[in-house]
Every structure is written in structure tokens, then in C-alpha cells.
């Protein structure tokens, strides 16, 4: 018997810890990324079995080529007006981010998170789906609210925790809640929203409704158990939900290899659950639109969930509390092979004769004006510490009705 026999390895065991291709001071290196050219990835029928389309989890769906032409079977053939609305919403999202980032530097708020480089994702998906469909976002889908015309001033009021904050000064800046815009309340706890989205979709199916759910999670948070639970439930109950993984390469300072993204793709994780997977150029507005449309049709026709990996790059620091120059090459975003989502859609619109430099300059100016006007309005109500909701509201909505403890404690505060 072997019970006392010790085993010898050919060499001592060693622990593998993945490392990114570049650190501060290194030249950015994306040579390990395999990128399909635009237009080459097939578009399966919406009813395809996950097994039959599993190769798509390792490909990259792209529509816009280097010349700005929309090519291939995934071209959603959007009308120019929709494209212009998308571009303007992305421009507005970036202008909003820039102003709020500055507002933090000026001490007007405690915290902010930009979505630079990822604007195409939330904007396209926010435009495509209905406000009746519930979105379960992370803290980096502000483009969804902006694309749906949520008042910028309300976003700012939330960021300033002022007297007009729709969620009454209770939440960290950017943790919006906007039910009427199909935007679920953001939680600081990563991953929790994904199985909740599945439950929401199960409820819609249970009621025989026609609404679907859509959720987002970052590459880093896919390592949370909630992601596994969500995929299991989505598969078991064929929930009408779109499960997005926004792979922006970075989870604060950890590169996506630490989340398991080097050994396989995040899209491929769907395969083991029997779910269809699409892997998409997240900086290509048209590809994001087309893939989401495919998943939407699948969900609405009772064929269940789809996982979409949106391959992109987190251009900005993780948050206003982060300094990426301490863990990645400073110019990595500039060298990102999939470019910038705004510039790529701008190029496409220009190539098809529906946009020009003059219109672009005007759109940028208009966005800045819009943000400035909202900023003036919000700041007139007050920035952080200058204005806030009544302290009484601190005790409200813990429960549907205040219990005796809260009444007593509120009186202790003197309100």
C-alpha cells in the first residue's frame, strides 16, 4: 500500500502568480491579445445551441474596421440618426465624467469614478433596451442614465449629496438609483447585482411578462461567487437576462489575469453553464449594439440568457482615489489596439457622410454646455457639505415604517 510511500516530483512544485505584460516604465505590450479583424466572425441564428456556437467565446465580434466601415454579418445597419444619438450620448458621458472628476479635485465631492474608454457599452445597451427592462449596473455604467436622458443635475445632486439628492445623501457618490430609467440601485458590494438580475428576469418570466433584465459585472468581480450563482440560476431556469462582463483589463491595480482571464476568456465561462457566449469589441458601438440585440432577441423569445464579454480598456484611474501610474504603463491606454469608442464611431459617421469636424466640434461644445448648465444648477443647491437633506431622513426608509428604536434615536439627535 502507498500510505507510507512519499512521492517524488521531477522538480519541486512552484506557485504561479500571473503578471501583466507591462508595468510602470515598460512599453505597453498587447501582442498576447488575439483580435479578429472586423467582419470575420460569423453570426449564428438566435436559436443556436450554446454548444454549436461555442467558438464565439474565443473570437471577437467586430463591425467597424480600421477605415471606419461597418462590415460583416454583425453589422446592425443602424440609421444615421441612431448613430448620431449614440455618439452624442458618449460625448456627453465623457464630458460629464471630466467635469465631475474635476469637481472632486476642487473638493466639491468626496469621490468619483470615470468610465473613459467604456462609453460605447452602456450607451449602446441603454439605447437599445427599454426603460421597462431592468438594468443591474455596476458603478461604471453611467452612460446608461445619460443615454436615456436622466437629468444630469440629478446625477450631480447625488454626487454632491445635497438637499436634492434623489437618494437623500445616504450613498457614496455615483451609487445611483433610478427605477423609472431601468437602472437598479447600485451596491458597493461587487457582483451581488448579477444573481439579482437573474431573479428579476425569473420574476418577469413567472408573470408571463415581456420584460427582460440586463446586468453588468467587471472582469475582476467575475471571481466573486455571485457570478457563478448567477450563471447557474440563469441556465437552470432559462431566465430572460443578458449577462455582460465588461473586461476592461484592470480591477483597480490587478490585471485581468488575476481574475483568471489569461487562461481563458471571460465569455468562455458561459460554456460550462450551457449558456451562449458572445465576445465583443467593447469599443465598437455597432458591435456592442449587434451582440446585445442578438441576446435581447434570444431572451425575449424565451430562449434564455446570454453572456457577453465586452472587451475594452479602462482608460481612466479606477477612481479618484487611485493612481494607475503606480502599477501600469502610463501610455497603455493610448496604445490599446481597439482604440477609442468615440473616435471610432465618429470616424464611421464621417466615412458614411453623416458627420464632419464642424458637427463634431459643435457636439463637443454642446455637451460641455449641457454639463456646465447642470453643474451650475446642482452647485446652486449645494456641493458636498454645503447642503444636504434633512438629518431626519437619516432614520427614514430603514423599514417601511420607523420602529420605536429609530424614533428614540432620531430624538436623541434632536430631529
Amino acid at each position: 500500500m502507498n500510505d507510507k510511500m512519499s512521492k517524488k516530483n521531477s522538480q519541486p512544485l512552484s506557485l504561479h502568480v500571473p503578471e501583466p505584460s507591462g508595468r510602470p516604465g515598460d512599453a505597453p505590450d498587447f501582442s498576447h491579445l488575439k483580435m479578429d479583424p472586423a467582419g470575420v466572425v460569423e453570426r449564428p441564428e438566435v436559436g443556436s445551441t450554446p454548444y454549436a456556437m461555442r467558438d464565439l467565446a474565443f473570437r471577437l465580434i467586430r463591425v467597424l474596421d480600421d477605415e471606419g466601415q461597418a462590415v460583416g454579418p454583425w453589422n446592425p445597419r443602424l440609421d444615421p440618426e441612431t448613430l448620431r444619438r449614440g455618439l452624442k450620448a458618449m460625448i456627453l458621458t465623457r464630458a460629464f465624467d471630466d467635469r465631475m472628476h474635476r469637481a472632486h479635485r476642487q473638493g466639491k465631492t468626496s469621490f468619483y469614478m470615470k468610465c473613459t474608454g467604456e462609453e460605447a457599452i452602456a450607451v449602446a445597451q441603454g439605447m437599445l433596451l427599454s426603460r421597462e427592462d431592468m438594468g443591474f449596473p455596476t458603478y461604471r455604467q453611467q452612460g446608461l442614465l445619460i443615454a436615456r436622458g436622466y437629468p444630469l443635475v440629478d446625477m450631480m445632486n447625488q454626487i454632491y449629496s445635497n438637499a436634492a439628492d434623489p437618494i437623500k445623501g445616504r450613498q457614496l457618490p455615483i451609487m445611483y438609483s433610478a427605477k423609472d430609467y431601468g437602472f437598479f440601485t447600485i451596491s458597493g458590494n461587487l457582483g451581488t447585482q448579477v444573481p439579482q438580475a437573474v431573479g428579476w428576469a425569473m420574476a418577469s418570466a413567472y408573470k408571463g411578462d415581456d420584460k427582460i433584465a440586463i446586468s453588468w459585472i467587471g472582469d475582476g468581480a467575475t471571481a466573486e461567487g455571485d457570478f457563478h450563482n448567477a450563471l447557474t440560476f440563469a441556465s437552470v431556469y432559462r431566465a430572460p437576462v443578458i449577462l455582460n462582463v465588461v473586461n476592461n483589463q484592470w480591477a483597480i491595480s490587478s490585471f485581468m489575469g488575476i481574475a483568471g482571464g489569461l487562461e481563458t476568456t471571460f465569455a468562455s465561462k458561459a460554456i460550462g453553464y450551457g449558456l451562449p457566449a458572445l465576445r465583443v469589441d467593447g469599443n465598437d458601438f455597432l458591435a456592442v449594439w449587434a451582440a446585445t440585440q442578438w441576446a435581447e432577441e434570444r431572451a425575449r423569445s424565451n430562449q434564455g440568457a446570454t453572456v457577453i464579454e465586452l472587451f475594452t480598456y479602462r482608460g481612466a484611474p479606477h477612481s479618484t482615489s487611485d493612481d494607475p501610474s503606480r502599477y501600469r504603463p502610463g501610455d497603455e491606454h493610448d496604445k490599446w489596439p481597439l482604440g477609442d469608442p468615440l473616435e471610432r464611431l465618429r470616424q464611421h459617421l464621417t466615412v458614411i457622410g453623416e458627420w464632419d469636424d464642424e458637427r463634431h466640434t459643435a457636439a463637443l461644445k454642446e455637451a460641455v454646455e449641457q454639463v456646465r448648465a447642470a453643474g451650475k444648477e446642482a452647485e446652486a443647491i449645494g456641493t458636498l457639505g454645503q447642503s444636504r437633506p434633512s438629518v431626519k431622513t437619516m432614520f427614514e426608509e430603514v423599514y417601511a415604517t420607523e420602529d420605536w428604536r429609530l424614533v428614540e434615536q432620531r430624538r436623541e439627535v434632536g430631529v
Binding site: I167, T185, V198, G199, G225, D226, A230, F233, E397
Partner: protein
């Protein structure tokens, strides 16, 4: 896990014929009226009646569908109300509660089962960070009208992971309600209230009491529920209010605060000590019926708190602090706590761990003589 428990249950002398496990739930077997039910049947009736009344009520959990639950609480609900209203869930406590939260946000009223309270921890993040805070953090835009049911408590040779009483992990969380019934009548009325409540409710069911009251005299034969008045349960809907305690025994010498199985142990302990104790079944820990507690302790001048959970940072600590804060000038002795020990729940030492009537009687006598 269910096998482990069933084994323990049989070893502990719960007679299989006390409950006809194959009988239709009482609410379905009879028409309107009042019939004797055990706690399982009463809980089943609560869900059944709410499902019949409200299409937004649904029930799911591990083995909770076709099989009707390892304790039969959801027995025949699937057959009666359909596959999509009472169904089996993957072994994923986090997933079960998260799905319920999503459903609650949509507008449903899910009643989910965590097979044992000892296995609720994988769902803790969802309950604490999500369900509890949803109304607050969204400014009332989203709510979590969900019920998380879970068998809890010891006295059944369940060992470490089939005996725990984790209520204080939930009473500490703002936004949650915590309910623990001690008898079939309250079980149905409180579960009905929990389902109708617009806030998330953690509903712990003392599994030791499922088939009959248990007073902690473990060497004596166990009596069935049908001998108790509180097992006479209306088949129709009724609600017992959340936030109201029940005075189980009026007395003048000392107040005993208890809930779950310990209510019956407290009654037995008072009898054993020969002390005229007022026994209060708290029924809901959050919100707590402070008025009933305060009035009783001011009347008796003494207080003994009994729970199964370990002592340190247990709910008894909160109760003791509240009594001390509010009844200080009426107290004639230090507030005493009779609780589980600060150890994991052991298997072989069941009856040395479980706070039985003798320990309660000892505490009562000590309090009556002014000591501790």
C-alpha cells in the same frame, strides 16, 4: 444534510407516528374551521393560503419543490399551485436569496427556504448588504419584500451544522426583521404577516418544535402538539402582528424573556424552580416589543433571559442592556442570562450544551435570592 438530521431526530425519540408525514397539509385536508396542526402543517398552511390569495407569492429552496422540503414545510405546494410557484433550487444559498431579492424588486413576494440556519452564511452578503439596505440606499425606489425561512436551533443531536441559532447576526443588521415562533398558531400567523410585510424578514423555525413542544426534559417522552391549545390553528388566513410578544404565563416574581424552543424550556424551568415567573415569548426580535418587556420587568423586578445561542454578543446581551437601561430602578437583582456556551454546538454533549430547565431553574433561584 437532511439525512444527518433525520437520523438525529429519530435517535432523539421523536416518534414517527406523531406526524403523518404523508397526510395532506391540514389547510388542504379540511374546510374552514380550526384544526389541530403541528408547526410544520401550520407553516405549510400559511404559505398555501397566501399562495391561493396572492399570485405574487412563490416559494423555492433546496428540495422545497417536488419533494416538499426535507422537513415537509412546503409539502404538496407544487402539486397544488404548480411547478413555477413552488420549485426546487440549486444548492446555492447565495443564489436563492439573490434571486428572491431580484424577484422582490420586480414586485413578487418570494418565500425562500434555507435548509438549515447553519447554511445561511453563504447568503449573508445578499441578506445584509442587499435585502436589508435596499429600501434605504435607493431612497425607497426599490424594496425587498422577501421572507427567508430557515429551520434553526438545537436539541436534536444535530451537531455543529444542524443546531445553530444565528439570530444575533441578523438582529444586528438595520433593515431586517427577525421572527421566531414557538408554536403552530403563532407560526402560521407570523409567517403570514412576514409574507405580507414590505420589509425583508428572516424567519427562523425552531426545528426541535416542528413535531411537538419540547421543554428540555429530554429523557421524558415528547408530547405531540395536539395536546396544546396553541396547536389549534384556523385553516383560513389570519395574521399575528410582527413586533408583539406573547405572555405565555403570567407571574409576579421574575420575568423570563425567551423565544423559540426556550419558551417551553422556560415554562418547565419555572415550574421546576417553583417560582412564580412571568414567561414572555418575544416572537419577534426585531422589531422588539419593548413595552411588554418593560411593563413586566417593572412589575416583577427581576429578569432572566434564555436563549440557545452562545452567550457572548448573543441577543440576550441586547435584551439585558435594554432591561438595565429602562428598568434600572425597579431591578432587585442583576439580570441573568441562561444561554448556550461560547463553543461550537457539540454532538456528544448535546444536553450539557443545550440550556435545559435545570439551568433555568438554577438561574431563577439565584435571581430570587438576589445573586447571580
Amino acid at each position: 444534510m437532511s439525512e444527518t438530521f433525520s437520523q438525529a431526530d429519530r435517535n432523539d425519540g421523536v416518534e414517527p407516528d406523531m406526524v403523518d408525514q404523508n397526510a395532506a397539509p391540514a389547510s388542504q385536508a379540511s374546510g374552514a374551521g380550526v384544526v389541530p396542526m403541528n408547526m410544520i402543517q401550520a407553516l405549510n398552511s400559511a404559505i398555501d393560503v397566501k399562495m391561493a390569495e396572492d399570485a405574487n407569492v412563490l416559494s423555492f429552496g433546496e428540495d422545497a419543490g417536488y419533494f416538499g422540503g426535507v422537513f415537509r414545510v412546503t409539502d404538496k405546494l407544487q402539486q397544488k399551485h404548480g411547478l413555477t410557484r413552488s420549485f426546487d433550487a440549486p444548492i446555492s444559498e447565495c443564489g436563492i436569496v439573490a434571486a428572491a431579492i431580484g424577484m422582490g424588486a420586480y414586485g413578487l413576494r418570494p418565500v425562500v427556504e434555507i435548509q438549515f440556519a447553519d447554511y445561511i452564511y453563504p447568503a449573508y452578503d445578499q441578506i445584509v448588504s442587499e435585502a436589508a439596505k435596499m429600501r434605504y440606499r435607493s431612497g425607497g425606489q426599490f424594496t425587498s419584500p422577501i421572507v427567508v425561512r430557515s429551520p434553526y436551533g438545537g436539541g436534536i443531536f444535530g451537531g455543529q451544522t444542524h443546531s445553530q441559532s444565528p439570530e444575533s447576526l441578523f438582529t444586528h443588521i438595520a433593515g431586517l426583521k427577525v421572527v421566531i415562533p414557538s408554536n403552530p398558531y403563532d407560526a402560521k400567523g407570523l409567517l403570514t404577516a412576514a409574507i405580507e410585510d414590505d420589509d425583508p424578514v428572516v424567519f427562523f423555525e425552531p426545528k426541535r418544535l416542528y413535531n411537538g413542544p419540547f421543554d428540555g426534559w429530554h429523557e421524558k417522552p415528547v408530547s405531540p402538539w395536539k395536546t396544546q391549545d396553541l396547536a389549534q390553528v384556523p385553516t383560513a388566513k389570519y395574521v399575528e402582528p410582527i413586533g408583539k410578544a406573547r405572555v405565555m404565563r403570567e407571574g409576579n416574581d421574575v420575568t423570563i424573556l425567551a423565544y423559540g424552543t426556550m419558551v417551553w424550556v422556560a415554562l418547565a424551568g419555572a415550574e421546576h424552580a417553583g417560582v412564580d415567573a412571568e414567561v414572555i415569548d418575544l416572537r419577534t426580535l426585531v422589531p422588539l416589543d419593548i413595552e411588554t418587556i418593560e411593563a413586566s420587568v417593572k412589575k416583577t423586578g427581576r429578569c432572566v433571559i434564555v436563549h440557545e445561542a452562545p452567550k457572548t454578543s448573543g441577543f440576550g446581551g441586547e435584551l439585558s442592556a435594554l432591561v438595565q437601561e429602562r428598568c434600572f430602578y425597579h431591578l432587585e437583582a442583576p439580570v441573568a442570562r441562561v444561554t448556550g456556551w461560547d463553543t461550537p454546538y457539540p454532538h456528544a454533549f448535546e444536553w450539557e450544551y443545550f440550556p435545559g430547565p435545570q439551568r433555568v431553574a438554577y438561574a431563577l433561584n439565584a435571581v430570587m435570592s438576589g445573586g447571580r
